[in-house]
């Protein structure tokens, strides 16, 4: 069916069989530093992690790069002050982000349910188009 020898496009974001999602390389020259390679992920994950790492006082350095746009992986380099390993710092950052996301999810859910109560249909997103162009300030919003 696929006549060309082009690789499957999904290989850019799906792990191969047996492929490991992360690989940690400890730095040999810098103390408490490591480079972590995360495969099949892009700026979406990398930049978010980097931002969270910057908010941690134990982290002296955190940066990421996607070495080549055609190769679907990124590297995060982390240096800590020694009270915590770079891997643990990354893990903490991820856990923190998951926490933020789930609290945000709950808030979104609440906000959406408000809108449902106020009579805006969201279930049928494919129905009649009464959709006006822009949002109308906060007229129908009730903050409690």
């Amino acid at each position: 069916m696929n006549a060309s020898n082009a690789p499957n496009r999904y290989e850019l974001f799906v792990l191969d069989e047996g492929e490991k999602p992360v690989e940690v390389t400890e730095d040999t020259k810098i103390p408490n530093a490591a480079t972590i390679k995360v495969v099949k992920q892009d700026h979406t994950l990398a930049n978010m992690i980097r931002g969270q790492l910057h908010a941690m006082p134990q982290v002296l350095f955190a940066g990421y790069k996607v070495p080549h746009p055609l190769q679907p992986y990124f590297l995060v380099k982390i240096q800590t002050d020694g009270t915590i390993t770079p891997t643990a710092a990354l893990e903490q950052a991820c856990t923190k982000l998951i926490g933020t996301l789930s609290s945000l999810e709950a808030k979104f859910k609440r906000e959406f349910s408000f809108k449902d109560v106020e009579g805006v249909t969201t279930e049928d997103a494919y129905g009649s188009s009464t959709a006006g162009p822009a949002w109308t300030s906060r007229r129908d919003y009730m903050d409690f």
Partner: protein, 427 residues
């Protein structure tokens, strides 16, 4: 950033319509808000026509042209996670009722006038249509589909104008069979549930993340956006606070109808959590952390372990794609199973070839090299690593709207006084 840490992330939905939601995200980091935007645009699965078989095409447009147009038509994809499989995960050879939706288009013009073929002419084939194909048992997915799953968006709605596919005249005919599959927009933009996502912060440009071109007066020549009333304007005598961080983000997510705006946002948040959780899981099952492969490793580890011993050597030898990274690093070395966490220096220098494959021209050595001069804080090679630019690819053009945040941060957001900021690393 520290400030963001103290306050809890908050959201306020300003408006919710059938196809769009407008909300304000507060007390989150710029990178966080941007990741949410990116994930909603590129990582949420929908269904779209992926294969088209032409039986007759006597229209003015060539087959490829029509196939492309068909692919771009949004199809109702509600509950896509459960209602359909990815073809790559399916047991069938090519496509079956569990991993695809079949649609037909059969239009001929017999009158002496121009006729329009539009998305409403697409009909989903009831499941009987699979008779000629391999027999596959129904999966649990089928029961989870809504009645109009896979139908073109707006087909049941007379007030929604259909999407024009082609215009034909008397005697012309178009007869095609389409297979719609599940996918994400990272593979092809036709799978994106969003038709537009607007993203704005700092409408008064207090942070000076953008520079306005102007003739004489910026304020006269650049009208403020509608979001400007949410924030205090900058006083004329106010000094520039170079430590300030963006706090409020104004987003509007507009969908193409394949998914509702609520589903897009909620799935986006879930998808981000999944990504992070997989990373944590991967870290925990890393051999550097755990000497023995305990049961901790999760579902994917045991098979990995089984294949590892068999595959490590040939892979390293053929310098194939990363695969078992450690094996590659130490040439024909011990693979990932090495006990100590730190690879020896000799191994490191051997790994240079591994690094060398990745950077674009000019990327050269960078910090991975074993050159003696690379002390702590030495700046990595300048050129080649400029990955920043890629992040703006997703952002809509236009100043301040959706351009990638990484580029913006460089230079002033480093948490410490380390001298490593200007090096192409997105610190």
């Amino acid at each position: 950033m520290q400030v963001n840490d103290l306050l809890e992330a908050n959201v306020r939905i300003r408006d919710l319509k059938k196809d769009r939601v407008n909300f304000v995200l507060e007390n989150v980091d710029l990178s966080f808000a941007n990741s949410l935007r990116r994930v909603m645009m590129a990582d949420i699965p929908t269904v779209a026509i992926d294969m088209v078989e032409f039986e007759t095409n006597t229209t003015a447009l060539p087959d490829e042209f029509i196939a492309h147009r068909l692919g771009m038509i949004p199809l109702v994809s509600a509950n896509c996670d459960e209602a359909i499989r990815y073809s790559r995960d399916c047991t069938c050879l090519e496509s079956c009722q569990n991993c695809s939706i079949e649609l037909v288009l059969n239009v001929a013009c017999n009158e002496n006038r121009t006729m329009e073929i539009n998305s409403n002419h697409l009909d989903v084939v009831a499941r009987g249509g699979y008779g000629w194909r391999e027999e596959v048992d129904d999966g649990e997915e089928i029961a989870r589909r809504s009645e109009n799953f896979g139908h073109p968006v707006g087909k049941s709605d007379p007030s929604a104008p259909p999407i024009l596919i082609c215009k034909i005249r008397k005697g012309q005919e178009l007869r095609v069979r389409c297979i719609a599959k599940k996918g994400i927009a990272k593979e092809h933009a036709k799978w994106s549930p969003c038709s537009a996502v607007s993203f704005e912060y700092d409408p008064h440009n207090r942070l000076r993340h953008t520079t306005y071109w102007h003739e004489t007066d910026i304020k006269k020549e650049w009208p403020l956006s509608a979001n400007a009333e949410e924030e205090e304007p900058q006083r004329d005598d106010e000094l520039f606070d170079y430590n300030a961080q963006p706090q409020k983000f104004y987003l509007e997510v507009e969908t193409d109808g394949s998914l509702g705006p609520q589903e897009v946002v909620m799935k986006g948040l879930t998808e981000l959590q999944t990504k992070l959780a997989n990373l944590v899981l991967g870290l925990k099952s890393d051999p550097n952390e755990l000497d023995a492969l305990g049961g901790d490793g999760g579902a994917h580890l045991p098979p990995a372990n089984g294949t590892a011993t068999a595959q490590a050597a040939p892979r390293a030898a053929s310098a194939a794609a990363a695969g078992w990274g450690q094996g590659q690093e130490a040439a024909s070395g011990p693979g990932w199973g090495g006990t100590a966490g730190t690879p020896g220096v000799g191994d490191r220098s051997g790994s240079n070839s591994g690094w060398g494959t990745s950077p674009p021209a000019g990327g050269g050595t960078a910090w991975g090299g074993s050159s003696a001069s690379a002390g702590p804080g030495a700046s990595p090679s300048a050129g080649g690593w400029g990955a920043n630019a890629t992040s703006s690819a997703w952002g809509a053009a236009g100043s301040g709207w959706g351009t990638g945040s990484p580029a913006r941060n460089t230079g002033w957001s480093s948490p410490t006084s380390q001298q490593q900021t200007q090096s192409g690393w997105n610190v």
